[in-house]
């Protein structure tokens, strides 16, 4: 038996096993736990979804979004002071000069670099970790594009905007859905190994909220394959695309006319700062999962600390929908090693139910992501029937053994090979015992306000990918984030090339916006403002921190 669970948890699993035969019997007959009505959905969301809760949120009191209510973690970060004192910098010199500076080397940044290079620019990419360290590599499910005969960008548009509760910026949705087939074609020409039929036709599937089968994939590591391929291509163009790893940007430079003109970079290893002069700047730094909004674990990569939002904000760019976060309903909470690990929607698609500590169902397992998350939180926080782990986390059961009972022995191993291995490693056989899950912070819905050519309100400053907002509105469908990063990354590169060619930067650059922002913080009376961007999360345990005080 699976010894990966503690005896106390094994005792609780008996309750799940006791109710399982009857539940499977019902599921076979097509009888489901009733889904919430539209009214209940709204009520549940308002009461239990972290986005709608007033605890842990407040108005931000400085900057372009002054007065907007945001999660505490985001508000505090936006009210942080710069890492640098502008007075220490001689801005008349430059350590690097380039046409386009790309900040961030995930999917969006790399796509932009390639597009800009093709248009004749010299590109410098600065990135905090390695080339490709990003949420792009972690996207498993797929990438949407309307390329089959029975589909068109028109229907893709409807799916995206409906999934976003009609809160998306229509122009961005149109740009993304129109360009989608071009992106898939571009990836094919770069040699990406798409899942295809023997005649070359793309294999496509449905995703949550799609009206057509348009989810393209490369095994269950679509994002990793995309990143490998575009990164490899960038490495073939090192004459024009230079890369600085472990060197994040910490501030944007503006020229006298308020246009973006470069950035201050920071070498994480030598602790040196560098000045980069550029004709155009792209912020493609990714999302904010590592801020752990309201203490939630996250599926995001190590560097997802919203650096780009902080820099753009100080340069005067408005952010939108930063109070909207996608919580994936099923993140692992046990064992401790798997905390934050994403348990794909497919598990519930195959029939696994969510159960409380009594082994009872409490919700329909395939509600929209935000509603499903609210149901789980309600069961734990309000009803009090969550399961507590030995590390003090809590959540509910995801009854994966039902899958084999419903679809035949071996289905779990065949359909969910990665998840099976990731638990088996810790002596938990998910085809025999359930998993423990709780919603996990998955995606930054909002971000830097852009138009359909990835331009921000600051001339010469572009933004693309998860750091930018508006494309998905307040809820994103599966398969549109990989698409988003590539569409708006490439658009940024193309438009930046047009802009840079006509742009002769004036001589002087400035950090006065940073000075002004620091003053605004002092004036607002913010006590003990933090320092931002934070660059890396701090996971040192308390017993270490106590001893770090000298």
């Amino acid at each position: 038996m699976s010894s990966g669970y503690t005896p106390a948890l094994m005792e609780l699993i008996k309750k799940v096993e006791a109710t399982r035969p009857a539940r499977v019997e019902k599921a076979r007959k097509g009888e489901h736990f009733p889904a919430l009505t539209m009214e209940q959905r709204q009520e549940w969301l308002k009461k239990y979804h972290p986005d709608y809760k007033n605890d842990g949120r407040r108005q931000v009191i400085v900057g372009p979004n002054k007065g907007t209510v945001l999660p505490e973690e985001v508000a505090s970060l936006l009210e942080s002071k710069s890492r640098i004192n502008p007075a220490n910098f001689d801005l008349s010199r430059a350590d690097y000069t380039t046409d386009l500076l790309v900040i961030g080397a995930g999917g969006a940044g790399t796509a932009a670099a390639l597009a800009a290079q093709e248009a004749g620019l010299k590109v410098l990419i600065s990135t905090k970790l390695r080339h490709g360290d990003s949420n792009t590599v972690m996207a498993e499910g797929g990438i949407q594009a309307a390329d089959q005969e029975g589909d068109s960008p028109y229907f893709h548009y409807l799916d995206v905007i409906g999934g976003g509760h009609f809160s998306n910026q229509p122009e961005l949705v149109a740009a993304m859905t129109n360009d989608a087939p071009l992106i898939i074609h571009w990836l094919e020409s770069l040699g990406m190994m798409f899942d295809k039929m023997p005649d070359g036709r793309m294999k496509v599937r449905h995703g949550g909220g799609t009206s057509r089968k348009r989810m393209h994939s490369a095994g269950d590591m679509t994002g990793a394959e995309i990143m490998r391929v575009v990164r490899d291509e960038a490495r073939n163009r090192t004459n024009d695309i230079k890369l600085l790893e472990f060197t994040p940007a910490v501030e944007i430079l503006l020229d006298e006319n308020g246009r973006a003109a470069g950035a201050v970079l920071y070498n994480l290893e030598t602790k040196e700062y560098y000045i980069v002069r550029a004709k155009a700047v792209l912020i493609a730094t990714g999302g904010f999962g590592r801020l752990h909004i309201q203490g939630f674990p996250t599926t995001n990569h190590y560097g997802a600390t919203a650096d780009g939002c902080v820099m753009a904000y100080r340069a005067g760019v408005r952010l939108q929908d930063m109070d909207s976060t996608q919580y994936h309903p099923t993140g692992a909470i046990f064992p401790e090693q798997n905390v934050g690990l994403l348990i794909t929607e497919k598990v519930r698609g195959l029939g696994a139910q969510l159960l409380n500590t009594e082994g009872e169902q409490f919700c329909f397992p395939l509600e929209p992501r935000d509603v499903e998350s609210a149901c789980v939180i309600r069961e734990c926080l309000e009803i009090g029937k969550g399961i507590v782990t030995p590390t003090g986390r809590f959540g509910v059961w995801l009854d994966s053994p039902m899958i084999d009972m419903l679809h035949g022995e071996g289905t779990v191993r065949k359909e969910l090979p990665a998840k099976y291995i990731q638990f088996k490693r810790y002596d938990i056989d998910i085809s025999k015992v359930p998993m423990l899950i709780y919603p996990t912070l998955h995606y930054q819905n909002g971000g830097i306000a852009i138009n359909e050519w990835s331009e921000t309100s600051v001339e010469g400053l572009f933004s693309a990918g998860e750091v930018a907002g508006g494309v998905h509105g307040r809820n994103r469908l599966m398969g549109n984030s990989l698409l988003d990063v590539l569409v708006f990354g490439r658009r940024a590169g193309i438009r930046a090339a047009e802009y840079a060619k006509g742009n002769n930067p004036s001589g002087k650059v400035t950090l006065s916006h940073v000075d002004n922002f620091n003053k605004e913080i002092d004036k607002a009376g913010i006590k003990d403002p933090g320092v931002g961007p934070i660059l890396l999360p701090d996971y040192a345990p308390d017993h270490v921190r106590e001893r770090q005080v000298g």
Binding site: G150, R393, L536
Partner: protein, 261 residues
């Protein structure tokens, strides 16, 4: 009583919370002993010991290849390997991460590639053909890829086989660091996978057709109409849209209303 059962606390973020009464075990980070709670991954154990990662940490989910790690157990001659974010720390593990390894990666121009791919592979990576067949790469791979086998397929010119066999590679570089023939297996495999994807896998014809349509501006007018529409009208279109059946055959299924294709 119901009130008491409500759970008020939220465990925070990724910071490790050792279970109550967790057994402490000794691990050796680059030779220095630290006591950490059992059951943590190497990555979380290293953080628990007080290290803050700059290098050697990426996705924390086993796919990015940033945290390749070698380790031995005290008193055991065998050198083992794994990803720090996926391997559980065990007592008396002596750990060294390998956050970077200088692999050989000659540049190439895929778009204008001349000649046959196998010859191009030989030109770019002649060392592949000097594999001594020791199998250390396969034993080292944290993704359980049979690296030596795909190198053998490359030598034979079976690029399809090599591409498929190497597909799960996270490019951590551990194989390369141990190769006595000094092969950069994962870089050669990257080249082969792109050659396979571009020249060997058949092209998607329906995609090329759609690309022509998009480039001709066919959808711009329709999309503009949608942008300009009142929200109620878009909602109506959304609710009324026809759903392609799950089991419909790709390329054969057509919606009843084809005006917006």
């Amino acid at each position: 009583m119901a009130e008491d059962k409500k759970l008020k606390t939220l465990a925070t973020g990724d910071k490790t919370i050792p279970p109550e009464g967790a057994k402490m075990i000794p691990i050796y980070i680059m030779g220095r002993e630290y006591m950490v709670p059992e059951t943590l991954t190497i990555m979380k154990a290293v953080e628990y010991a007080g290290y803050s990662y700059v290098r050697g940490c990426g996705c924390r989910g086993g796919i990015c290849g940033a945290c390749g790690t070698f380790y031995r157990f005290l008193g055991d001659y065998r050198l083992r390997s794994g990803l720090a974010c996926q391997t559980v720390a065990e007592p008396n593990m002596v750990i060294m991460q390998l956050p970077f390894f200088p692999a050989n990666r000659p540049g190439y121009d895929l778009e204008n590639m001349q000649g046959n791919p196998h010859e191009e592979l030989r030109r770019l990576y002649p060392e592949v053909f000097k594999c001594v067949g020791c199998g250390t790469c396969t034993r080292t791979c944290p993704m359980d890829i049979d690296v030596m086998d795909y190198i053998a397929l490359m030598k034979r010119g079976d690029l399809r086989g090599a591409a498929l066999k190497s597909f799960d590679c996270v490019m951590c570089g551990l194989c390369t660091s141990r190769c006595p023939a000094q092969i950069s297996q994962y870089m050669a495999a990257m080249f082969v996978r792109r050659v396979f994807g571009k020249f060997i896998l058949p092209k998607a014809e329906h995609l090329s057709k759609r690309v022509e349509e998009v480039k001709s501006g066919k959808y711009e007018k329709k999309l503009k109409e949608l942008i300009g529409m009142k929200q109620e009208d878009v909602k109506k279109l959304y609710v009324e849209r026809e759903r392609e059946p799950d089991l419909a055959e790709a390329g054969k299924w057509m919606p009843k209303d084809t005006t917006n294709l």
